[in-house]
């Protein structure tokens, strides 16, 4: 009995659930499409179309971006498809394809221009873009029919087969909804999904593990634009009439309402939201208004109150209220034991990191002057110094985040890469002074994200489950890394619940899974208890034996002295001395710098 429930339990994974929900969506919608009244079928199509566009927006939100102009991409899809099919004699399917492609290209252009905008500038830019698009459609009257739009759009046809039946159209739309929803839901717990979640947490952190943030953000933006374009194109072929009204600012905001109302952390939230918003509107229009005989304004007020009420109660939307029922991501611990040995990249014999006479000026302020040291193979080097000594600047210069004003850095025998995301390919990994982990994901998923650079599977593979072998290998490594830092007991806990010390060790595990030859640790002992610090020292020795060199920036003198082979002491931007721990401990200048003279 218990083995049976265990057997069933192992099926309760997000992947199986995604597939099941997608199937259920398709089944239920098909049932309504085939047997419901005609009015319901039109509603079904409307909900499906807005769900398609809203899912793209949700993906964008998951990646930490907001668009207030998503309806503009729907407009592009709709107008290009409709104009090509009606005025230029394109076969309808080809016109739809062209419309979607144009929308994707527009997404790439707009995204390419606006994605460098930070904070609230991006939503403002997309807002302006959306309003400009509406104005442009009105202005280009001769082509687009201006504010009044145009009709007589031919039906969607494929060869000799014409999709004229409303019910068949609804099934087509909801097949797309089901495939996209199930696919995106699965995508979230794969390599690309973890990277998208990492983008939202911290772009720089994502880059350190090999995510080309610019490219991935652009990809997500283009996917969102493509889905919006598809939704718009299908809209044109279903209603056979288009005008600027359904693609204005109101529609962009409505899409956003659907996403937030349904829950912006999951693609199913978009489907839920689109359905719930329409259901609520219908309920208010048909039931409340008819029964109580109230005017349209009361509907609007009630809708607003419900919207506010739901979001005050569940800021994460309807999905967060249902979230409890959704299976937690889990992967069983692999039976066989794999070793996480560092890869043999880089130049043999040479120093892994060598810093010669580097300096850094910020304006007139000299933060760093003439600092030299090196980290050799199988070596642990400690970088210490009082606050403001220039440790962080040195660290950032060594990893190529900051360009030095003078001096030379060689990382694995070459200058540091210009892109942060190339660092991990050199066999270099790091942790952060302020913990940067993805709070809403499990510990295991966070560690697995560290293996991003070793994987290859992309968005399509993630959506349709073509990445299973690679994922199994990644999670085997993630389990092993968690065992090394002795946190395997917490593998399936959400990372947000970790204590500071545990979170730091998760960062170490995440760095280890990329099998670095050089590990850079930025104050790993801050916030650790004594017992945890001792564990950290043991861990560092173990890593060294396995062939990983470590550069350790740390405040805790005892910890540094207990585990390093060499100490570099910085003071007020100068290299005070470099030596063995015992020499440094006795050195009067170091004592003076630390205790004050």
């Amino acid at each position: 009995m218990s083995s049976l429930s265990k057997e069933l339990g192992s099926w309760r994974t997000p992947n199986v659930a995604s597939f099941a929900v997608a199937l259920a969506l398709f089944a239920v919608s098909s049932l309504i499409a085939m047997s419901g009244p005609r009015y319901d079928v039109t509603l079904l199509v409307t909900v499906g179309l807005s769900a398609v566009a809203a899912m793209g927006l949700t993906l964008l939100l998951i990646a930490g971006q907001v668009s207030l102009g998503q309806a503009a991409f729907m407009a592009v899809g709709a107008y290009v498809s409709a104009i090509l099919a009606r005025d230029h004699g394109f076969p309808a399917v080809l016109a739809l394809f062209a419309g979607v492609a144009t929308s994707a290209v527009c997404g790439a252009i707009v995204g390419g221009i606006t994605l460098r905008l930070k904070g609230h500038f991006l939503p403002l830019a997309t807002l302006a873009m959306g309003m400009a698009c509406s104005a442009a459609i009105v202005a280009a009257g001769p082509v687009t029919g201006g504010a009044s739009g145009f009709g007589q759009i031919p039906p969607l046809s494929f060869g000799r087969f014409e999709l004229v039946d409303d019910r068949a159209f609804a099934i087509v739309v909801w097949s797309i909804v089901a495939v996209a929803a199930g696919g995106f839901s699965r995508l979230l717990s794969t390599r690309t999904g973890r990277a998208i979640a990492a983008l939202k947490t911290d772009i720089e952190m994502a880059g350190v593990f090999g995510v080309n943030a610019t490219r991935l953000r652009l990809l997500v933006f283009v996917v969102a634009a493509t889905l919006a374009g598809l939704s718009g194109g299908l809209y044109a072929f279903y209603f056979k009439f288009i005008s600027p009204a359904p693609f204005g600012l109101t529609s962009s905001i409505n899409l956003l309402i659907a996403c937030i109302f349904g829950g912006m952390s999951h693609p199913f939230g978009a489907v839920l939201g689109a359905s719930a918003v329409t259901a609520l509107e219908m309920f208010l229009q048909n039931t409340v208004a008819r029964m109580l005989g109230l005017s349209g304004n009361v509907e609007m007020i009630v809708f607003g109150v419900v919207l506010i009420g739901v979001l005050l109660r569940w800021p994460g939307g309807i999905w967060s209220a249902l979230h409890r029922a959704w299976p937690v991501f889990s992967t069983p611990r692999p039976a066989r034991n794999i070793e996480l040995t560092p890869s043999k990249r880089g130049v043999e014999g040479d120093d892994l990191l060598s810093v010669r006479g580097i300096g850094k000026k910020f304006g007139g302020l000299t933060a760093l002057h003439d600092v030299s040291f090196s980290v050799g193979a199988d070596q642990i080097v400690g970088l210490i110094g009082p606050n403001g000594a220039g440790k962080s600047t040195t660290f950032n210069i060594a990893t190529g985040l900051t360009e030095p004003s003078e001096g030379r850095v060689r990382l694995m025998g070459a200058p540091p890469p210009s892109r942060v995301s190339d660092l991990v390919h050199r066999g270099v990994s790091r942790t952060f002074q302020h913990v940067r982990i993805i709070p809403e994901r499990t510990v295991l998923e966070n560690v697995a994200f560290g293996g991003y650079a070793q994987g290859r599977s992309g968005m399509i593979a993630g959506m349709f489950g073509l990445d299973q072998a690679e994922e199994a290998a990644t999670f085997a490594k993630a389990w092993r890394a968690l065992e090394i830092v002795e946190l395997d007991g917490l593998a399936h806990e959400p990372a947000s619940r970790l204590a500071m010390g545990q979170a730091r060790l998760v960062e170490v595990a995440r760095a280890l899974i990329s099998r670095p030859r050089l590990l850079l640790l930025d104050e790993p002992a801050a916030g650790l208890r004594t017992g945890e610090k001792l564990k950290l020292v043991t861990l560092l020795h173990r890593l060294k034996r396995a062939g990983t060199s470590v550069l350790l920036v740390e405040h805790d003198m005892d910890l540094v002295m207990n585990c390093v082979d060499q100490v570099v002491v910085l003071d007020r931007g100068h290299g005070l001395m470099t030596g063995l721990p015992d020499e440094v401990r006795r050195d009067e200048r170091v004592i003076a710098a630390y205790l004050g003279t």
């Binding site: 930070k118 904070g119 302006a128 400009a132 104005a135 309402i257 109150v305 919207l307 506010i308």
Partner: protein, 342 residues
């Protein structure tokens, strides 16, 4: 030719002054609370309509609703178990005074119909108080939520306020007399007194806001909250009060722009959204956080609008909106906004 040009410039500046008040409202609310307030334009509508009804001597239902809301929150605050006796008394007295002012101004305006200043006072007090109520009802409970959730909540507020405005005042537009009839010949251009009045009032309001935020302790506290919410809280600034204050200022400024504009376009339930939108574009040009840059944006939007109304070319709107993007890119490169972890 020159006459027309000057006329258009004067018209554009008047429009700009109205949008400027809106842009400032949006900026104050956004910087302090991180709410991109879609509902801001509704305060314009409410301001104009409650001004119109106060001027005609009808007791504003809105003032009664606001007073009831204030009383409800006063009861809730007094019920807090952690308060000492004296603090309770102080809360009761201050809230009673507040409610009294809201009701008394409305009642006086009712008694003396046609009194311009009383009507202005009554509607400004009511709407600014409404702003604090909206903050406490819809922002305070989720003040930690991500900005995008706050934005959607403000869409809900928009729906409620918009519907309520129609319920109270109906869909009929109301004509509102200007402060003084007629106008003056400024060189070759005829400018109505109302236009001058709009520009002067906006200017005074903006200077007052500037002095308030630069010269008073409360204003400084508001600025501190805008820069760093947590830091301000640690310094003992009551962030909730700062939020209420920002909503009150935002609502008051928007209402002011509404009642100033009402004589030119008649007060109606649908006037808020387009004005709010223009205010948005103007604020966006300033990157939504800075007052002076936003004012340049405001004039730009006002002028472009009046010129495009004269020389009909639909592409001008496209240009106005698209203008935002290069300006944002430039500002992003020069001084990017802080990115907030949610």
């Amino acid at each position: 030719m020159l006459d027309t040009l000057l006329f258009l410039v004067a018209d554009g500046i008047t429009n700009g002054a109205v949008y400027g008040l809106l842009a400032l409202s949006l900026i104050v609310v956004y910087t302090v609370t991180r709410v991109v307030n879609i509902a801001q334009g509704e305060y314009v509508t409410l301001g104009a309509l409650s001004f119109a009804s106060a001027l005609s001597g009808t007791f504003s239902v809105l003032s009664a609703i606001v007073a009831a809301g204030l009383a409800a929150f006063a009861l809730k605050d007094v019920a807090d178990r952690r308060l000492t006796g004296t603090m309770r008394v102080r809360i009761v007295l201050s809230r009673a005074l507040w409610i009294f002012i809201v009701l008394a101004t409305a009642w006086l305006a009712n008694l003396l119909p046609g009194s311009y200043w009383l009507a202005v006072l009554a509607s400004l007090v009511a709407i600014a108080s409404l702003g604090t109520l909206i903050y406490r009802l819809t922002v305070e409970p989720v003040s930690g939520a991500s900005p995008i959730v706050l934005l959607i909540v403000s869409v809900g507020v928009y729906m409620v306020l918009h519907g309520t405005a129609v319920l109270i005042w109906g869909a009929e537009p109301r004509s509102v007399p200007p402060v003084v009839e007629g106008g003056v010949e400024l060189g070759p251009v005829f400018v109505t007194y109302q236009s001058l009045w709009i520009c002067a009032s906006s200017l005074v309001a903006m200077i007052a806001l500037y002095l308030f935020s630069e010269r008073t302790l409360t204003g400084q506290a508001l600025q501190a909250t805008a820069v760093n919410r947590t830091g301000a809280q640690l310094c003992g600034i009551p962030v909730g009060v700062a939020g209420q204050l920002s909503f009150a200022i935002g609502a008051g400024f928007s209402a002011l722009s509404g009642l100033l504009l009402a004589p030119l376009i008649t007060a109606n339930y649908d006037m808020g959204l387009p004005i709010g939108l223009k205010g948005f574009v103007a604020a966006a040009l300033g990157g939504i956080v800075e007052y002076p840059t936003a004012l340049v944006g405001v004039l730009l939007v006002g002028l472009t609008e009046s010129f495009s109304a004269f020389q009909v070319s639909a592409y001008r709107d496209v240009v106005v909106y698209l203008m935002v993007i290069p300006i944002l890119l430039w500002r992003n490169a020069v001084r990017p906004p802080e990115t907030h972890g949610h």
